[in-house]
């Protein structure tokens, strides 16, 4: 029994890793496609049908490019930078519940890689490590623009992590658990957290944009001012790793947002559907499979939103970025915590009294 579960976990982790790589690969394609559509163009359409093989072509090109390391760069750290970025990005999808339980025979399989009771903290810790890849790479390049990009990345990530954490606390007050699985289970049907936490979600969304270095917060890698920021000196697959890590981060952040605020794998009338089947096992499995599809639909919707915003909004100025983070988002997040606490107390007063 134990070995079955162990093998299952191994396969599941590999599958999640593969899926996140696949989604990251195709994010590059959809990024270009969406950019083109918004700008009234058609985008890549030469490689394969509708240009669907474009990511493969891009990857092949990146692999065959010259691996360039600047003469005065710190070689070890220069190579370590993209590695850390990629490692950290790939680590974070471990605790996200992509679905409920599948029941096959006598065994029930949880569709979550690791169910720890500190799921959110794990993601938070891993995400906060992501900045090291950028910092080390930017510093090791021995280039002033890269250094500026690295410094921007560091200060931006630290500033927005605070607001992000504070906006999370309100969700945790509602759920009373740090486990993402428990949080997902609480939002059955249409009982999503977004209805209780609109302000918290807005803060989290803005911080997610800042944490993943996406427009309008892509100051660490702004082409116009910093000629690429921390990855100015990078070429070949090392550059590819940085870009890849960014897209995996978008995927993970989308998954976290879907889990925390949009009910993860839950969808309206799921209980009705479950009860419509005579066989409880079959009903459970059908609901679970639809739930996984719903979860991925939510994730893709968020990824689309990320890209949509990128091709709509211009970049912030750096002082505006800092002002938004420290002067607006953090006080708002604290206010949100107070409001949530008050709301919970009122609810308990009226339901118990």
């Amino acid at each position: 029994m134990d070995s079955v579960l162990l093998i299952y976990k191994g396969i599941y982790i590999l599958a999640i890793f593969g899926i996140s790589l696949l989604i990251a690969t195709y994010s590059t394609y959809f990024e270009r496609k969406i950019a083109a559509f918004i700008q009234d163009r058609v985008g890549p359409n030469r490689a394969g049908p509708m240009g669907l093989l474009q990511p493969l072509a891009d990857a092949g090109k990146l692999f065959f490019k010259e691996e360039f390391i600047p003469a005065k760069a710190n070689k070890m750290l220069f190579i370590l930078g993209p590695g850390i970025a990629m490692l950290v990005a790939a680590m974070s999808s471990a605790v996200i519940p992509f679905g409920d339980t599948l029941i096959i025979g006598e065994t029930s399989f949880d569709l979550i890689a690791i169910d720890v009771n500190i799921g959110i903290l794990y993601i938070f810790g891993v995400v906060s490590l992501g900045v090291y890849g950028l910092m080390i790479g930017g510093w090791a390049s021995n280039n002033k623009f890269s250094l500026l990009g690295a410094i921007r990345a560091a200060s931006q990530n630290i500033s927005y992590e605070l607001a992000m954490g504070l906006s999370l606390i309100a969700v945790l007050m509602l759920s009373g658990s740090l486990s993402l699985k428990v949080i997902a289970e609480q939002q059955t049907g249409f009982n999503w957290n977004i209805w209780y936490q609109p302000l918290g979600f807005l803060i989290f969304l803005i911080c997610a944009f800042a944490e993943t270095n996406r427009t309008p917060f892509d100051l660490p890698e702004s082409e116009a001012e910093l000629i690429g920021g921390y990855h100015t000196e990078y070429s070949s697959m090392k550059l590819g790793m940085y870009l890849f890590a960014e897209y995996i981060n978008i995927f993970v952040v989308s998954a976290v947002m879907a889990t925390l605020y949009f009910g993860a794998y839950n969808f309206p009338f799921m209980e009705n559907l479950r009860n419509a089947f005579d066989d409880p096992v079959l009903g459970n499995n059908v609901v679970t499979i639809i739930g996984v599809a719903v979860m991925f639909a939510k994730i893709f919707a968020f990824i689309f939103f990320f890209m949509w915003v990128r091709w709509t909004l211009p970049r912030f100025r750096y002082d505006q970025l800092m002002k938004l983070g420290w002067n607006i988002l953090i006080p708002l997040a604290i206010l949100n915590i107070l409001l949530t606490g008050g709301g919970i107390l009122l609810y308990e007063y009226f339901t118990k009294g």
Binding site: I34, N45, W308, T312
Partner: protein, 169 residues
């Protein structure tokens, strides 16, 4: 001063309202505009498969025509070179030998005929000047981009209309 048009606007820095300072309505408006463009018809023309609709009087790459027997019409009179405002056309004239009647229509013909496509402005004056209806600007071909400047000087090898091998017309 009296306004010259009624389009003059007074620009004064006003205090922003709360909704303006929040920027969120403006962001939503911007997102609305971009999503509208997302579903719009695309402006792209997939070039090699589709070509842009050309005007009926489009003037493209030159061609030196042959007559109905396949002989070159050009007599190297030089009127096209005189008419050319960009001085893109040069030629040297030669006399037709015995036995070349099937190649050249008149007794005088162009031994070389060169059009410099870098100078040419595709005005079509050569076409108008030609008394023998020998040079035309085609409506379906362009002078394509090339790597070397020499390649833009089109000689007779590239200008003369190819011989029709089959007599279907």
């Amino acid at each position: 001063m009296e306004p010259l048009s009624n389009r003059r606007k007074n620009v004064a820095q006003k205090e922003m309202t709360l909704s303006e300072r929040m920027y969120l309505p403006a962001i939503a408006q911007g997102l609305g505009i971009t999503i509208k463009h997302f579903f719009k018809k695309k402006a792209t023309i997939n070039y090699p498969e589709e070509t842009r609709q050309r005007s009926d009087v489009w003037r493209g790459l030159h061609v030196l025509k042959r007559d109905e027997n396949g002989a070159e019409r050009c007599t190297a009179c030089g009127l096209c070179a005189v008419a050319c405002p960009a001085e893109a056309i040069t030629m040297t004239a030669g006399e037709r030998k015995k036995g070349e009647e099937h190649l050249y229509r008149e007794e005088k013909y162009a031994v070389t005929y060169e059009v410099n496509m870098l100078r040419c402005i595709f005005c079509g004056l050569c076409e108008e000047a030609c008394p023998k209806a020998a040079i035309f600007l085609q409506d379906d071909k362009l002078a394509p981009a090339r790597y070397e400047r020499d390649e833009f000087i089109y000689g007779k090898d590239r200008l003369v209309e190819p011989l029709k091998t089959t007599e279907t017309k």
